[in-house]
Symmetry: C3
Subunit: 352 residues, 3 copies
């Protein structure tokens, strides 16, 4: 693992050092757990209070930080982001040496750029093309006619069906399955007839897809994940979905067929998105929400609930439900009062 001086960390962040420029940092940790050899960071006022107790050797802080301590300081605009940059440098794994493991089985018509790492027991199908600097983990199965652009990483045991296209600098975690058949069946004469799934899957650049997630191929046409989109573990993306650019999808969410998601939308965990739903750009779907088929979530709208409604409306609904005991008590009280009023009025009324 690389070691960096405080000065080198400051250089990485384009910032200045206050303290010991040559102090050696070999790791990074939270404020609480950091040792004098570790880098840490202070992202907010709450963290600032914990700073004095920290044993970190170096802290990334904003200009607002005004405490004194044993740590060296590097002042940056965004400490969390600077910390991410420094982490990447401190924990940089040596890129696996360009090599194709002798047990990898590469179809004669496949092409693999010369500086790729291809692990043990990988198989690569006919006419597949693997771009420069890719890393293909042990046991991955890459089908015929697959295209993987440069700088992409497949961790172990990823499966790409025939014809899947993956962009540049993509990360696919273990157990991902891209290109399985969409779920398309029609009940004909009391049997489900399979609608052939002959479309493709296209993953943009800089996408990351979590472990054991699935992206199905389109029935016709394309299932598409846009550039920069990040998908967590165990997510299901059905056939013909089109996710935009820089969409974030938390774990275990499912998209039925033909869902369209706009750029920068954020989808919480375990959400369920019905067929042909259209989620516009920068909309925010709360965790565990359910969106009914063919509904549209307007741009920028935060929604929540089953079925999903605008956030304020959903929260109001929750508040009302929490008040139901009170409402029932009030109704009972009103009923009694009205009965008394009716009784008095009946008595007050002159005899017919």
């Amino acid at each position: 693992m690389p070691a960096l001086t405080v000065a080198e960390i400051a250089d990485l962040c384009g910032a200045q050092v206050e303290g010991h420029r040559e102090h050696l940092i070999t790791g990074a940790d939270t404020l609480e757990n950091a040792t004098p050899k570790d880098l840490s960071f202070i992202a907010n006022a709450k963290a600032m209070q914990a700073a004095s107790a920290s044993h970190a050797g170096c802290l990334l802080v904003t200009s607002a930080f005004d405490q004194k301590g044993t740590w060296s300081l590097v002042r940056v605009e965004n400490p969390r982001s600077a910390f991410a940059t420094a982490l990447a440098a401190l924990y940089r794994k040596p890129k696996p040496a360009a090599s194709i493991h002798p047990t990898a089985i590469i179809a004669p018509s496949a092409s693999i750029a010369s500086d790729c790492f291809v692990g043990a027991y990988v198989t690569v199908g006919e006419r597949a093309k693997i771009g420069a600097s890719c890393s293909i983990g042990n046991g991955c199965v890459i089908g015929d006619d697959v295209i993987v652009a440069e700088g992409t990483t497949l961790y172990a045991n990823v499966t790409l069906y025939d014809g899947v296209r993956v962009g540049a600098r993509v990360i696919l975690h273990s157990g991902c399955v891209l290109g399985a058949d969409g779920f398309g069946f029609t009940l004909i004469h009391d049997r489900y007839e399979k609608f052939p799934q002959v479309g493709a899957v296209e993953i943009g650049d800089d996408v990351e897809i979590g472990a054991n997630s699935c992206v199905d191929r389109a029935a016709l046409g394309l299932t598409r994940i846009g550039d920069g989109t990040k998908i967590d573990n165990l997510v299901h993306v059905g056939h013909n979905c089109v996710l935009g650019r820089h969409v974030a999808v938390a774990a275990q969410t499912g998209f039925s067929g033909s869902v369209v998601v706009g750029d920068y939308a954020v989808i919480g965990g375990q959400a369920g998105i019905g067929e042909k739903v259209r989620i516009e750009a920068r909309a925010i779907v709360g965790g565990k929400s359910g969106i009914l088929p063919s509904h549209k979530i307007p741009a920028g709208e935060p929604v929540w609930g089953i079925p999903a409604r605008p956030l304020r409306q959903h929260l109001k609904g929750l508040a009302h439900v929490a008040k139901l005991t009170e409402m029932r008590d009030e109704i009972r009280s009103l009923r009694e009062k009205v009965a008394i009023l009716e009784e008095s009025q009946r008595k007050a009324r002159p005899e017919a």
Copy 2:
């Protein structure tokens, strides 16, 4: 990829051509995207409106279609189903040549029919039997005593535990795990003791199971998936479940232990079915529904919600919840009116 003339497509569908019999069709697509070399279809009145703008070379239509255009027509009873038939012919993949990859490791006591395809790095355990015309993708692990009937396809990286039995013409997508232990533990003296899971898994004929889905073995006896049942991605089927014939299960649904599902039931995505639930034939469970343990869903009943209730009742409940603001306003208004009534009555009453 095969190419078909319009006349050949008509023959496949048992129908007649109106237009250019010899026009060559090499693909298929939606009305919007089809080119003159593509087949498309018109399934309903809405699609009919889009027909005139389509560049498709050939359209599958019903007898009701009365437009004129550049396309040739093939008139059929069910255009969607005919399109599926034609798709299967147009995109037919050459069946992989019967072969056992030299890296496949087949136990000496296993038997594999002579016309199977067995991919690279497959392992097949002792006494396993693979029937005629099966295709076993790269990296599949097939345990001891597994039986796979004829015409079944396992895509890459499927795992079948010991003793799993799979019917004929089944499709198992990548990452499927069949036969893992059911979740059976009893807390004894403050530790979970494992209840040994010694039962089996039996998959009927013509079943399809999606990517990364799991079907657990029974504790005792059998977990069974009936003929013709279709299961989407990331579904969990617990120990001792018995799913009937021609059941459809959408993605990410989970069945706890010992659930019984009748024939032709339809289960939406992300539904959660409690232990020992009984879903009768042709019942319909809405997406994201939760069915409480030991409940019964009557035959043909559509249910929805958490906990699931008959659909009409659930929709009524949703409508009521949406009216809660109004209800609270009404209660407030009534409270004020009653207070005024009480006050007037108090004033009207002669002094005691």
Copy 3:
């Protein structure tokens, strides 16, 4: 498969036989399905009623059982637990012979105890250590610096990323992925920047994790699963979660980042646990519940719902919602009565 006499089964349970000591038992099944060669058990009063119709050769019963039949009896304190013990003996699989398959690729610096079973096409990374009596199924990928303690079983196609540590006597089912990157991204200048995930994963002793479940590595520090914890299929454990000892987690549940779960907590299926939630010891989270980020579930508390509330409160809420039709009817009736009262009062009032 081993066969046991009734006397041997009684010995296993530390109990006495009533009936044929030498009767041979070769299997086990439910009361309904058991044959004279099978063992079965009677756990409760309901089962007791079915006993007389059972053809089981031997029954495990409590001292309260007072029926006569063809079966031999073994009286024990806890029949279910005794049955589990007998099952384990009856269905004991011969441990696979200690061996390393010639196709397993073991890094030169890895160490594997001499009595392990390592299957075909397994890969083991640099400096990895596999303890005594482990069984590593076909196709498993074990990264660099992984540690697996003694007696642990990995079924086929498990993936352990670099640096994952697994305790003793752990069972990992097929498709499990341990150590993939946590989902940590920050939107900087309209692009998601990855927060490097440099922490580790540590699995305690006697843990079982179901098929296709995922446990992500920590961003910094540790994601930890405590001793004796049991996790079902398709579960997601996010980065930096700390699950205590003897926690039970049903299928398809998801834990966001930095969740802390106390010992003996029980989490139902398809629950969704928000970031930084703290579930205290022996709390019980109902199936499909959703716990909002940063919430705390007190020790021993049963909670349910979305968002999760104390069980009684949630059930009361459900009951109220079920009464909403009635409430609306009452409000309408009150409105009419109040209108009548107002009208009479208006009439009764002397002219202004």
